[in-house]
């Protein structure tokens, strides 16, 4: 299967700290690739490095066959990557409507259709259209963040810990929404919640101390109790 994104032996620093030592993985088109690992393993830094928010010091990252190392964040975003950051990344002082409309590169028929689809998926966003983003609940903020990344026709979505801090019922809702989205776009998901990750993901990579240490099909990992205990602390 064609790889949409490829990272090869990527190293990156955050300020003076060497966080990523050897990250390599491939994201096949049309699949959900899950990055797993303990807190501080380097999962968020990996996504930020793909987006150009951290500089790559060694290694290569290619998207749709072209290197994106050294390119600016806005250029990477414009090449077709949507990013949902860990802290949701919504604009607290803008209304829900403005948060969505600011992300729409153009307000044409196709984008409007996507917006309508996403509003059907997250009816709360329609209900609170004129409410400031900062006044939404954690779950609603997460929905807004995902919706904002989805509203443009991106080839790849990078989603960082969408279940973080959410009540179980909201986690189910977010899981359901990502499952619907995966029919239409390729996704890289960083997730601590193994239950959620295993429901959505097709393949996985485990990152430990800035190194990709294990990979395979998600169904295999569910059976591999030893690896789950060793790398994720799940017994």
């Amino acid at each position: 299967m064609e790889n949409l994104l490829e990272l090869k032996k990527v190293e990156a620093f955050v300020q003076h700290y060497h966080i990523l030592h050897d990250i390599s993985f491939e994201v096949p088109k049309g699949e959900v690739t899950v990055l797993l690992g303990r807190n501080g393993a380097g999962k968020t830094t990996t996504l930020r490095t793909i987006m150009g928010l951290n500089r790559v010091s060694k290694g290569s990252i290619s998207f749709k066959g072209e290197s994106i190392v050294g390119r600016t964040t806005f250029d990477i975003a414009n090449s077709g990557i949507g990013y949902v950051p860990e802290d949701q990344g919504i604009f607290g002082g803008l209304t829900v409507g403005e948060n969505l409309r600011v992300a729409m590169k153009k307000e044409d028929e196709k984008t409007t259709e996507r917006l309508e689809w996403i509003l059907e998926l997250f009816p709360d966003l329609k209900k609170f259209w004129k409410k400031e983003g900062g006044q939404l609940s954690g779950g609603q903020k997460q929905m807004l963040s995902i919706a904002r990344a989805y509203v443009n026709e991106n080839d790849l979505l990078l989603i960082d810990e969408p279940s973080k801090g959410l009540a179980p019922i909201m986690v189910d809702k977010v899981t359901e929404s990502i499952q619907q989205m995966k029919e239409q776009t390729t996704i890289v998901l960083v997730e601590q919640n193994f239950m959620m990750a295993s429901q959505i993901g097709t393949r996985f990579y485990i990152i430990d101390d800035g190194v990709t240490v294990h990979s395979g099909a998600m169904d295999e990992l569910k059976e591999d109790k030893q690896s789950m205990k060793k790398y994720l602390g799940i017994s």
């Binding site: 604009f91 600011v102 590169k105």
Partner: protein, 339 residues
């Protein structure tokens, strides 16, 4: 335009603008008309500052330089050429072009860096323009400045009043449309968090530089009107005090609201006039700036989002556009984030 789709607030602003047209018939005293003219001019100046601070989150300590460029360009042109409408238009065009070029250069040099570089460079450049105005006596008249003749059209104070009012109203609606456009939404997103905006695919520096140019050009037009209203210009138009005044007008009125700076300009100018006028009652009123400081502290305590911002937030259930300090810290936190 579908009239049914026009917002209620637009009708209210238009109604107030319409009522203001009649002020010269009610208030015939020249000094009171002059205060209104000053309010309109400073309202334009403060709105230009609001584009920077309120909508884009850029702090400038030298915004006055654009105001001074406008004032001197008009005064020098009218002082050296015949006092005609043509000379005025030429002077205004020169003012706007110089302001656009200076703001473009300053913005391009500094806005890719952290915002305090812009603040410091504008402060330094405003100082440079002040020194230039002091030393280039053959053109500027130095500290003493110079007077000049106005075109016949502007000699009447009522005409000057209506022209300033019309300018303020047109600039207000123009800037309101600008801030509500897709471009304006990106500016507000930048104010909230630059990294996030860039992650959505926007070249943040480009938007910030253009916001700086718009703010510079509008401030320069306020300077054009200021010179016309005084028929005189001196180096005071480059004084840092004016930047502080306009910053306070914007904060008191409500940052990021556009209407707030107009309210702030009105309050500050009227406070200045009335408090100074009470000098006969007690000497403290001669030092009106002390009382003004107290008013400012009270406003910050009781109206933390500015007068308009607080009213919109509390009573009209409107989203608050005002800049909050915690939003900046969001960005810093994100930048520092490790694994």
């Amino acid at each position: 335009m579908n009239l049914r789709r026009v917002e209620t607030s637009t009708w209210i602003y238009l109604a107030i603008s319409f009522l203001l047209i009649f002020i010269p018939f009610i208030v015939t005293g020249r000094s009171m008309q002059f205060i209104f003219i000053q309010i309109f001019i400073f309202a334009i100046f403060a709105m230009s500052y609001d584009i920077l601070l309120g909508f884009t989150g850029i702090i400038s300590f030298g915004h006055v330089m654009f105001f001074g460029i406008g004032a001197y360009s008009t005064a020098v042109t009218l002082g050296r050429m015949d006092a005609t409408i043509g000379s005025f238009v030429l002077g205004a065009i020169i003012a706007l072009v110089i302001a656009a070029i200076v703001s473009l250069i300053v913005g391009a040099l500094t806005l890719r860096l952290k915002s305090h570089f812009y603040a410091m460079l504008t402060l330094a450049l405003a100082g440079l323009f002040l020194v230039l105005a002091e030393k280039w006596r053959s053109v500027t008249g130095g500290n003493d400045g110079f007077t000049f003749s106005l075109p016949e059209f502007f000699r009447d104070s009522e005409t000057m009043y209506w022209f300033s009012l019309l300018s303020m109203v047109l600039i207000f609606f123009g800037l309101r449309r600008f801030t509500r456009s897709p471009f304006g939404r990106v500016l507000m997103a930048i104010r909230e968090n630059e990294n996030r905006t860039e992650s959505l695919g926007f070249q943040v520096t480009y938007y910030k530089v253009l916001a700086s140019v718009v703010a510079g050009v509008v401030a320069s037009f306020a300077g054009v009107l200021y010179a016309l209203s005084l028929r005189f210009v001196n180096t005071a138009v480059f004084a840092t005090d004016l930047t502080i005044d306009v910053l306070l007008m914007t904060i008191i009125g409500g940052v990021g609201t556009l209407i707030g700076p107009i309210v702030g300009a009105g309050l500050v100018e009227f406070a200045h006039h009335w408090l100074s006028g009470l000098a006969d009652v007690h000497w403290i009123f001669e030092r009106w700036i002390i009382l003004y400081g107290i008013v400012y502290v009270l406003v910050v305590i009781f109206f933390p989002l500015g007068i308009v911002g607080t009213i919109q937030s509390k009573f009209m259930n409107r989203p608050v556009r005002a800049l909050r300090t915690n939003r900046k810290s969001d960005g810093k936190k994100e930048n520092r984030k490790g694994a």
